[in-house]
Symmetry: C2
Subunit: 314 residues, 2 copies
Amino acid sequence: MPSEFDLIRRFFIRPTQHTLLGAGDDAALIAPTPGCELAISTDLLVEGTHFLGDTAPFDLGWKTLAVNVSDMAAMGATPRWATLAAALPAPTLDWLDAFSRGFFACAEAFNVDLIGGDTTRGPRTFCVTIMGEVPRGQALLRSGAQAGDSIWVSGTPGRAALGLAHLQGRIALTEPHLGQCLAALHRPQPRVALGLALRGLATAAIDVSDGLLADLSHILTASSCAAELHIPHLPPAGLARDGYLSGGDDYELIFTLPAEHRAAMATLAVELDLPLTCIGVITPAKPDAPGTFALHDDQGSPITPTRHGFDHFL
Amino acid sequence: MPSEFDLIRRFFIRPTQHTLLGAGDDAALIAPTPGCELAISTDLLVEGTHFLGDTAPFDLGWKTLAVNVSDMAAMGATPRWATLAAALPAPTLDWLDAFSRGFFACAEAFNVDLIGGDTTRGPRTFCVTIMGEVPRGQALLRSGAQAGDSIWVSGTPGRAALGLAHLQGRIALTEPHLGQCLAALHRPQPRVALGLALRGLATAAIDVSDGLLADLSHILTASSCAAELHIPHLPPAGLARDGYLSGGDDYELIFTLPAEHRAAMATLAVELDLPLTCIGVITPAKPDAPGTFALHDDQGSPITPTRHGFDHFL
């Protein structure tokens, strides 16, 4: 049986593409691109809180990196480098092999170099720190939305939450919907191409990790404004609607657009092969309730969401 | 009782000194200094493996950052930014307050901005990723040692291990030695000023986290060479010698110097108020045993160390 150090080297050291010095010294070395700012985000995933213990290790490896790549997408940054720290309770060779293949499948899909890490025995926990680059001053923040901007969301929020509800026996999905929802849950696709395309167009952006309404609220609060939402084809009241409005773990992007860029979205949706849906408009903040929104159905009747955010992804 | 989110904001959001956008968006934004490379390192600390559950939270906060700052010192990099991810089991206000004060005491001492993080419930675990800057091509690697270079160590290795042995009842230290050893264990002082001073002088460097001989071996392996060690004033055989040679958690620097820079060390030791001790010389690798060293006492008799690395710091 090889030592744990050998296992790490075997499964987690791969050639890097744009890194001066990768894992193996006291630190990695990178050369930031002149004229760019560096976007940095970190996520901690703990078994039992962020993932089920029986999650397939390939999926877990993919998702561990994907949720961080999604933060780069939401900033309009190009993902470039990541570190991975892992606590593991006596992993098997098969488990490590599958986890690392999932992690690197995501790394290769988004051109991310794994440049360092740390491993130890302990309750299964993963911490990824990701770094990306964005030309100076062009990052998409949460704080730039303006009254009059339209509000957009990519893809179909709620699928990950419905996939989880299916696995938990709370609903019974059928194909092809089942496959779509499980794919959304297990292999989220960070919207990097969309984030890059929105540079210079969107006034604010965030990724949907806590739920559509909860994450939109973060934009409203950071931008000191409110919103009127009219969501086309919103599912009828029930689990599907709750998932759409409040399901976490989707990693779609919510973004706001000034009027002059609205027309560009139809072309962009075709180019990216990704639905882009206008779900409302930014309004001036109400002095007594900043960061709030009003939501209406197709008939104009107000909707009161039953919850503002699914529990994480358990 | 404030929410966990409010607690984080209260204890872990402080003004930054050299950061474009700190915590609170999908990612932080920094502007790397033109002409510099970025050094990046990450460490995962798990209760029961890397620290005792009853460690004073101020000390734990200090050490969580300090061990990462030490990696910057070992690269000759100026520490600049860090992220902190923490899993915590229902922390009390007092605990969080003391931990954050210890963390920021270290951050302020070494001019590090905390730029982001993540928190969740779970078994007590901390993951810090640190970023520092070093002028292009000047980083101190493990791989540059050359036959004929002298080998140096800062400070007094072994104190942290002896402090731990005292706490575990395996030895009984007395003052002032006890205080020195507990300080080394609980408030390690990363040798940043030394690392910066060694740019352009040292051919290789590493920090002592696993033990003097174990970490020296990393230099020898990375540099494809061997070493002859003659350690002045090495303690007699016993726990003190084992601690000096193999105690981890000291965060002193081991470095190698070409002959022409040897004379600079006396002045540097005075300037930094830090002992710098020559402990041997780099020799050509033996073809059948690269990365090995021979160790002799003051009388020239060979010493066989009893162990090559203390267990971490438990």
